[in-house]
């Protein structure tokens, strides 16, 4: 087979899997709207209206004189992206444990196509959700001061972060033994890491035990870069740091997922 037809086959199979995963997303639309959009919006409302008064006062210099909502929204956007991890890991795990992966592994289907479909549509879902949450945030009083160039940078960082977390979720879906485990394993990503970052309050306001971790983990780099770009503050090197983190997470997760997919389900379970 020539290189061209191999490439054409890869493109065709990936398109098929994208089509399949878009169909899945449409069938699960109501569920996805709740987890990907309603949950982040509720977090936004809770933290801004309920806790925002006190938190805003407590920020001091970190807020640079802006309202707490302007400090909060970049973090909520990162949480929105992370909220897309669960559905992706679940969908991959359903394929892995339900026999679909085995089925296509006995067919002449290009190896990477299935994961390309999952990751591609996962990124798409995360971007749509982030756009929707941004729109709601604007209605609730979020007033970004970003220039056009800043907005491009914001979209780029959100896309890169989505890409990295989509691969990470896919790898989690591949290595976990059940759908429930896949979902549970993404909770640290969608819930714990945002709290242990600068999503809601600055890392240096945290207790000594978690301060170093919170200040240096990838979520903080991404939140800080988005916050600087959206509030018109000097971003410094935070966008590059965020992109470096995204690249590193994407690369490691990609290799992890490839290895897990190649290993398949066969050597671990169902040995009769």
């Amino acid at each position: 087979m020539t290189a061209l037809t191999t490439l054409a086959m890869a493109a065709q199979d990936s398109a098929t899997m994208l089509w399949r995963e878009i169909k899945h997303s449409i069938r699960l639309l109501r569920l996805l709207i709740v987890t990907a959009i309603v949950v982040p919006v509720v977090m936004l409302v809770l933290f801004d209206y309920v806790l925002g008064e006190t938190l805003g006062h407590g920020l001091g210099d970190a807020a640079r004189g802006a309202l707490y909502v302007d400090y909060l929204v970049p973090g909520i956007l990162v949480m929105t992206v992370a909220g897309g991890c669960g559905p992706t890991a679940i969908n991959v795990s359903v394929d892995m444990t339900g026999g679909f992966v085995d089925r296509i592994r006995t067919m002449a289907v290009v190896r990477g196509a299935l994961l390309a479909g999952h990751v591609g549509v996962s990124v798409l879902r995360m971007l749509v959700a982030t756009a929707a949450v941004t729109a709601v945030a604007l209605l609730l009083g979020f007033r970004p001061k970003a220039s056009v160039e800043d907005w491009f940078a914001v979209v780029g960082i959100v896309a890169a972060f989505s890409f990295a977390l989509a691969w990470l979720s896919a790898a989690i879906g591949l290595v976990t033994k059940s759908v429930a485990a896949a979902n549970g394993s993404t909770l640290p990503l969608s819930f714990l890491l945002p709290f242990l970052s600068s999503t809601f309050v600055p890392a240096d306001s945290m207790p000594a035990g978690v301060r170093w971790f919170a200040a240096n983990q990838p979520f903080t780099a991404v939140v800080d870069s988005l916050r600087a770009l959206l509030t018109g503050a000097p971003a410094g090197n935070t966008p590059y740091l965020a992109l470096a983190w995204c690249a590193a997470i994407a690369l490691v997760s990609f290799l992890w997922a490839q290895a897990a997919f190649r290993r398949g389900t066969g050597d671990m379970i169902r040995i009769t």
Partner: protein, 319 residues
């Protein structure tokens, strides 16, 4: 009952010395198989015998630890891609996409097989018709019965017109009617000349469908042959007589002069080598005076074969 043996013209599957172990646990301890094109071959064995492992190896899902195999003329090592192009696999658990409709599931297979759009639709429509899924075509398998899911699964396998089909326990968990439908589907496929390797725990199923059977026990083939050949390997048919009391049993034993008696159960087991003639003979010799409470004619079935060959507890004890 069982179909006649087909003369194996060309070899569909030739495997020598397949071995597989998971850690300490040996799942396959050296399995040889030779299956001809057009043959229906059954791997018969209990859970954990290694049936699924054989299917997974031969369908390119997992490599064996040792041994070689060619499938439709292609070596598994190095020729997996060519093997995949001509086989179809329906696993033990219905690998249907529960979020797509029945029709979309078939079209998905068509796309992955790179069939042109028109052919994709035509084949999907034909298979929905053939497997009685037309009414359910626009519904997702969440609403299907177990039998419908299994039929959709096989239909998906057939989208690619495979010449060799692996069916891993195709009727496990199905109700009797669905099982019968599945048997008919398998017979129809066999009639089209498709080679079929099926695994089953049910002796009757192997007897009904297979030209040849390999009995698998703890990772080894303990017997192989046509259903009739296997049945010939166990002690012959017999007639079992049960009596109301010991006096009748004594009288019968004297009158018949052969057979083995069981005083506890008040039973007499008499060889039945000549079918109806033996029976008529036996009844004549018993005459009118000896009261027989119960009479049963026992022909060896694959269950007898299985228990005799695998060295498990006898049929009576396990029932």
């Amino acid at each position: 009952m069982s179909s006649p043996t087909r003369p194996a013209t060309r070899t569909a599957i030739a495997a020598i010395g397949l071995r597989k172990a998971y850690g300490e646990k040996v799942v396959l301890g050296g399995v040889d198989l030779s299956i001809g094109e057009g043959e229906v071959f059954a791997l018969l064995g209990p859970n954990g015998a290694g049936k699924t492992t054989i299917v997974r190896i031969l369908s390119t899902l997992i490599p064996p630890d040792a041994g070689t195999a060619t499938v439709m003329g292609h070596d598994l090592r190095g020729g997996a891609g060519a093997v995949r192009a001509v086989i179809g696999v329906t696993g033990q658990f219905s690998a249907v996409d529960n979020l797509l409709t029945g029709e979309e599931n078939l079209l998905l297979m068509g796309r992955l097989l790179h069939l042109p759009a028109a052919e994709r639709r035509a084949r999907a429509a034909g298979l929905l018709e053939r497997f009685d899924l037309v009414d359910a075509a626009k519904q997702t398998p969440a609403t299907y019965s177990g039998g419908m899911k299994r039929r959709l699964d096989i239909a998906m396998t057939l989208m690619g017109r495979p010449r060799l089909i692996f069916l891993d326990e195709p009727t496990t968990g199905l109700d009797p009617r669905s099982r019968y439908t599945m048997w008919q589907i398998i017979r129809d496929l066999a009639a089209e000349g498709v080679t079929i390797l099926l695994t089953t725990q049910y002796l009757e199923e192997a007897d009904q469908l297979a030209h040849r059977i390999a009995v698998l026990d703890r990772g080894r083939i303990v017997a192989e042959g046509t259903p009739d050949e296997l049945k010939r390997r166990v002690p012959g048919a017999h007639i079992r007589l049960r009596f109301a009391d010991a006096t009748s049993l004594d009288a019968a034993a004297r009158a018949l002069r052969e057979g083995t008696r069981n005083d506890e159960e008040l039973e007499l087991q008499v060889p039945n080598e000549r079918g109806i003639r033996s029976l008529r003979d036996l009844l004549a010799r018993l005459g009118d005076d000896i009261a027989v409470e119960d009479l049963s004619i026992h022909t060896p079935d694959l269950e007898d074969v299985f228990f005799a060959l695998t060295g498990s507890a006898s049929k009576e004890q396990t029932r």
